[in-house]
Structure formats: C-alpha cells, structure tokens
Symmetry: C2
Subunit: 422 residues, 2 copies
C-alpha cells in the first residue's frame, strides 16, 4: 500500500542462508501490498577481501592515484550481492530485478572512494514497481558525469537507501542491521545501555558523526534534509514475525520535537577512536592562518573534525585539529611538504592514540551546566581533557584512547542513562 | 610502435602474485613502445564461486528467468580483476585505467549469458592510449541497448579481446593462457601430441568448436571475419624473457593458405564430451518436421550441433541431434512438453554418455579417403560409431564416452601426428 525502502547491511547478507532470510522478509512486505525497493550491502568481508587484494598489488601503499580503480573494484561486492538477492527473491516467487548504480543513474560527484550523490533518475525503478517487481538497487555506488564508477565511502549503502527513499518519496526507509536500534551508548562498552524507541534527527546526526556506528552520517543528513522517515531495526528477528510488530520495532528517527514530551537532558554517549590529532606548533598568529593550514587540508579532500586554536603568546600560537586516522599520514605529509615551508611553523606533531567521547541531547539546549558536569565526571576519574568542542546539543572531548571505556561508563551513569525513561 | 591487445585467462590472473607477473609482462611491452590494451578474465575460481552462490539461492534450479541476474552477478568477477590489474600496473609505474564493458560501450544483443558483441565505441580507449596509459578492459561482458549488463558465455574474454583488437585495428591479439599453443590434440590424452607453430584459421575454428579448449570459438570467428592476427601463447614463461622471442612463441593462427607449403592431411584431433544426444523416434516423415523440432529448440536459444535424420521406414523416421550437456534437461523438457504433443512422435530418448571425436585438416580438401581411414581405425579398435558429421575440413563421429581417449590416441597415431612435420 506504500512505497517502502529496505536496506540490509553486510552481516544480514553474510551467507546464502541469510540472503534467503532477507528474501523471505522482503517477500512478506511485498505480499502485504507494499511497493518494495531493497538496497543490500556487499556480503560481509567481501569489501575487505577485495581491498586486501588491491593492497597486496600496490605493495601496501594505496594512495589517491588508486582511488578510481579502488571504486571499480569495491563496487563489485554490492553488485554481486544485489544480483544474488534478486535471484533469491525470484526463488521465493517474487518477480525481481537488480540494478547497479549507473543503471538507475545514481549520479555522484567524482570524489572517488567518498563520492556524494547528486541525483537519482527513478523512471526505470518506478516502471518496474508498477509492473509488480521488487527492485534491488546496489548500494554504496554511483556514477559520475564521465561515466566512472564511484563509491560513497564505508557504510555508503545507508546513504544510498535514504537517497533513493528521498528521491522516490518513500513512506519509510527501514535500515536492517545487526543491532536492534539506537542505544544510549554501545552495549559492548556499557552493558547497561538502553535502546531508544525514538531519537531526534539532530541527536542521531551527532551520534552518527561521533562514531555510534549504527548509521553512516550522510544517510542521516539526507534523511533530515528530505524528511525521510528512517527506522533502524534488527535483521535477526525471525523473518516471519508479524509485519505490524516489525514495523514498530527498532528506533525511529524523528524530525519534529514533541513539545509536550519531557526530554532527557542527555540521550546518549557517543565515542570514536577513528581519529588522530595533529598539532601545528609555534605558528605566527596572523590573520588567515587557519585558512592557510586547513585550506590545504580541505583541498586534499581530507575531512577535519575538531579544531582548536590556542591563545596567542609572543605573537605565536598553536593550532590543533583531528582527522580520520586513515588520512593521518596523508595529512602529515601534506603539512610537512607544502604547508610548513611557507608557514614558518616551528613544529608539527601528531598523535594517533586519542579518542573522542561526546554527550548528546536535545535537552542540552534548555539546560545549563551539562558540559561542566561532564568535565567534573571526567576529572573525578582522573582523565585529562586534551581538546573540547561543543555544539548546541553535544559536548565532545578528546582524551587519551586508553581511558575511552572508563569515560563512557562514568558519563553513562552520571547522566542516568541506565535508568528507564519515566 | 604498434597497438597490441593482450588477453590473460583466469589461471594467469589466479593470485596477486600472478597478477603482478601479468603487470610486469604488460609493462615490458608498454616500455618497448607499444600501445597496450589488456583484457583479463576473472581470477580463476571466481566465476564458479559466484554461480555456486546463485545456485544455492535458487535451490539448485537456475533457469532462463535468472539469466539477467546471473550476468549482473558473473560480470563482477572480471570487473574486479580488471581493477586489480590496473592497480598492479600503476605499482609498476605504468599509468593505467580500467573500464567495465558498458563504460567503453561494448554493445551486445540481449541474449543474457551468451550475448554477442555488436559494436565497440573505442573513442575513450584511444584517448587514454594517446595519453600514454595502458587500458584494461573487462572481458566477458557488455551492455545491451536497454542498459542491461550481458555476458558472452564461458571463455567470453577471448571474444572480447579479439573484438576489441578488431575494432581498434590492433597489430596483433595475444591470448595468454595456461598452455603454450595449439597442439595436434590434448597432451593430457595423448602424450605424443605436438605443438603447431601455425594453424589455419579454418582449422582453428573447427578445433575450437569441437572442443579443443584453447580458445572460445566465437573469438576465432571474430578473428577470421576481421582478419585479426591471433596468437596463443603461455603466460607461464618468465615475464622478462626477450620480447622478440616472446612475440614469436606459441601458435599463430593464419588466414591465408600458403600454396607452396605441403599441408598435412590432418592437423589435429579434437574431442568434446560436453554434448548429449537426443533422439526423437517414430516421427511422421512429413515436410517441415526438422523445422518443427529444431525450430522450437532454437527459439529457446539452445544450440544444436550434430543433426542426423534416418532413412524413412513405413512413413516414420528417427531424428537425432546433440546439444550441450548443460542444456540437455532444458531441451528434453521442451520437447516433451511442447513438441511431442503436437508432433505425434512415439518416443524421445536422451543419452548424456557420449563424446564427439573429430579429425581436422585443411589438407582434407584435396585428399580423398581420409574419412574412410578414420572409420577403419575406429572399427579396428572395436568402437561403434553412433553419428557422423562432415565438413570440408573435418570429420566428426559421436561415440560412447568411454572410448574417447582410445579413439583419440588411435587416430593421432594413424594420421602420423606424433611425427615431426617434414
């Protein structure tokens, strides 16, 4: 009765047995009268296997010159699993057809290995849906204006699913994954973590960007921009559970604040050890210095997260920021070879043994003293804070990686996240 | 100095170590000044792995309804190996770019799993070559007019390579494989088999179609049609052997008969146990009966090889033909469900335990008694002949599969193929 997009992660597609279960689940939704579009990830392990081969061939040193070919390579994993799912659906008696990104014109820019979707031409998909077919679309990939295959970066299938749901004005986009929803924090770190029945789009955005690995951040941005109702739920419930029960399970990401509802001050604790810190020391404190450093980094397509500039002393200042650990070496090279010589900085130092821990909550908007409570809790545990970054609904700290679990558990308890919501 | 196409089979691409060797070999040719286009197969085992997964999902019964999805699936193997080879070439310091079939517009018809190439648009490839790049093009695959991915059938990468060589007017197409040329017969069956330095296009066509598995038949047809100089050679010689020596190794497929050369009467013995025999017994001997039976088979896209119609007796006749064993069940089903009811045939019987053995030679054109010598040799070995088929340069017999090796060895010896050419 409605157009629904399902997305299945690599674990859900991890074996023929699991693919059969996905097919049975999708068939159940199709038989209930829904028009179904399904976006599967590559079978778990496949992308790593392929990139491992590439690494061997490049003698361990994959660089940006390889990015176009890496996308040619990695995109095959999703294409294969899409075809396999279409075959499994046919075996369930459900007419089905699969498409690679370029076949339904998932247009992206040309930023290989981390492309952004620009448009989707859904005419072909709509025709198939009208003809009663389930349409399987390969996630994670697209095609640029020159006909090159691009990929969207790790977890990109989430973004594909949401972008397709947005383009087709789907009633809901269901992200099936190996967790059953969004938690107050990672239950592997804090066993008392609780599942949230709903979470606001903004909180989810902060959680995702901060490293709660449930959804890729861009998928949440897309969902917010186009108001795509988005639900995260488990693909490990039995495929034949009641469809109405299934439709209400997991965590729904909401777009409107319920004014009547008492918001928890803090909804969750996010953390992330994928970043590394770079400090440029003894920089002349002149106008344009931040642009001089970060412009070069941005031009190299390296994303920067936390940025700190210290108070100036004797006309010199220190400038620190974090980047993804995968891009740490590239960023350091760039700064040493291109930026330092023209900058007159005294020194560039890097640290990969850091982590970022954040408290996130819509309620922080209307409550004061939340950040200072966070700093007090960390101080009581003897954890030194290296960097601080704040936004309206989150406060993040960069600390030594070794304190990560301790910090998460202490904050989870201090903000009463282990207690059932009233 | 010339435009050269290299094709590497699955065994040659079977591991990262082997892919590195392919890259080194191609780099050697590129450094010698040649413009290089390379067509690699999927890594050995990959296509079978993917189709094995599909088979599991279809509960063992893959049918023609799955063909489109099987092509989506199987084409990923070649795409991955092409990207890997491009990366390996870059690691060798050779600029390289890889393309999927659809990206350089290898246009085919829509006969999924056995499509035929209709055209290739080489503009993009020429631009890359002019820019000094080695261009890697995925073999085995293409795209139809509706933007569906197609594959060319097993061994289709040979055809891709020759079609690309033809479209680009390459100076030579080198097919690197795990054998070092074309032999008088398969050395695994007859240890005294000898390598042929040259073989005529027509002989090669018969050898390939009869099951000497060196080259896919369509690649030889293409080579003949467009007069593409084609060489079969080993990818297991050291990559750094002298390029002039390498350029003369293997077997060259020739297009013009050398009138001055004494042709051997028979150049080789081909054999094939990929076929099955179907006999339609007690068919009314009326005009149009062959079309009635074989038209239905052809409409189902099943290829028929040997065809025999017996002498009529009491207004009834028997009609036998062979098909590929993979299509035997499909053909039997079709005949039983669609053809028999309207035909009034008494019975349809099938036999999958047959083989076909053939003698092939340009010299047969000008020599008589070659076929009868073949029949005598088989008779002396006590081998019963079930079907006979002849052409200008070959004679084939269908016999019980269990006599295959015996028949090949006896014929190889009887036609002096174990003796060095004078």
């Amino acid at each position: 009765m409605a157009l629904i997009v399902h997305k299945y992660g690599g674990t859900s597609m991890g074996s023929t047995e699991r693919i059969k279960n996905v097919a049975k689940r999708v068939a159940k939704w199709a038989r209930a009268g829904h028009q179904m579009v399904v976006v599967p990830s590559a079978m778990s392990g496949e992308t790593n296997r392929l990139l491992g081969l590439a690494k061997e061939l490049a003698s361990g040193s994959l660089g940006s010159t390889h990015d176009r070919e890496l996308d040619m390579l990695a995109s095959t994993g999703e294409q294969a699993s899409s075809a396999l799912l279409a075959i499994a659906l046919q075996a369930e008696g459900v007419p089905s057809v699969s498409y690679a990104g370029w076949q339904v014109s998932v247009r992206t820019d040309s930023a290989f290995t981390k492309a952004r979707i620009e448009s989707i031409d859904d005419a072909r998909v709509r025709a198939d849906l009208a003809a009663g077919k389930v349409v399987v679309i390969t996630g994670f990939q697209g095609v640029d204006d020159n006909g090159n295959i691009t990929t969207l970066g790790r977890g990109g299938s989430d973004t594909s699913a949401v972008a397709i749901a947005a383009a087709m004005k789907a009633a809901e986009c269901l992200i099936y994954t190996d967790v059953d929803g969004v938690y107050t924090t990672d239950p592997r770190v804090e066993p008392d973590a609780r599942r949230l029945a709903t979470v606001s789009f903004e909180e989810m955005l902060e959680m995702a960007s901060l490293g709660s690995k449930v959804l890729q951040i861009r998928s949440v941005e897309f969902a917010g921009k186009y108001k795509v109702p988005l639900r995260v739920l488990s693909s490990f419930t039995p495929w034949d559970i009641d469809i109405n029960e299934e439709a209400k399970s997991g965590t729904l990401i909401t777009f409107e604040e319920d004014e009547n509802m008492e918001q928890a001050v803090v909804s969750g604790i996010a953390f992330n050890r994928d970043e590394a810190k770079i400090s440029v020391l003894g920089v002349p404190d002149t106008p344009g210095i931040a642009y001089h450093i970060l412009g070069a980094v941005a031009d190299a397509n390296i994303e920067v997260d936390v940025i700190i500039q210290n108070l100036s002393k004797d006309g010199k200042t220190d400038f620190s920021f974090t980047v993804n650990r995968n891009e740490f070496a590239k960023a350091m090279d760039l700064l040493k070879s291109k930026v330092m010589p023209t900058l007159g900085a005294a020194e560039i130092v890097g640290d990969t043994k850091i982590c970022k821990v954040s408290i996130v909550g819509i309620g922080m908007r209307s409550h004061v003293g939340v950040a200072s409570k966070m700093f007090r809790v960390l101080s009581e545990e003897g954890i030194n804070i290296q960097m601080i970054s704040t936004s309206e609904i989150k406060t993040s700290v960069v600390i030594d990686e070794k304190y990560m679990e301790l910090a998460v558990r202490a904050l989870h308890k201090a903000f009463d996240l282990d207690q059932p919501t009233p």
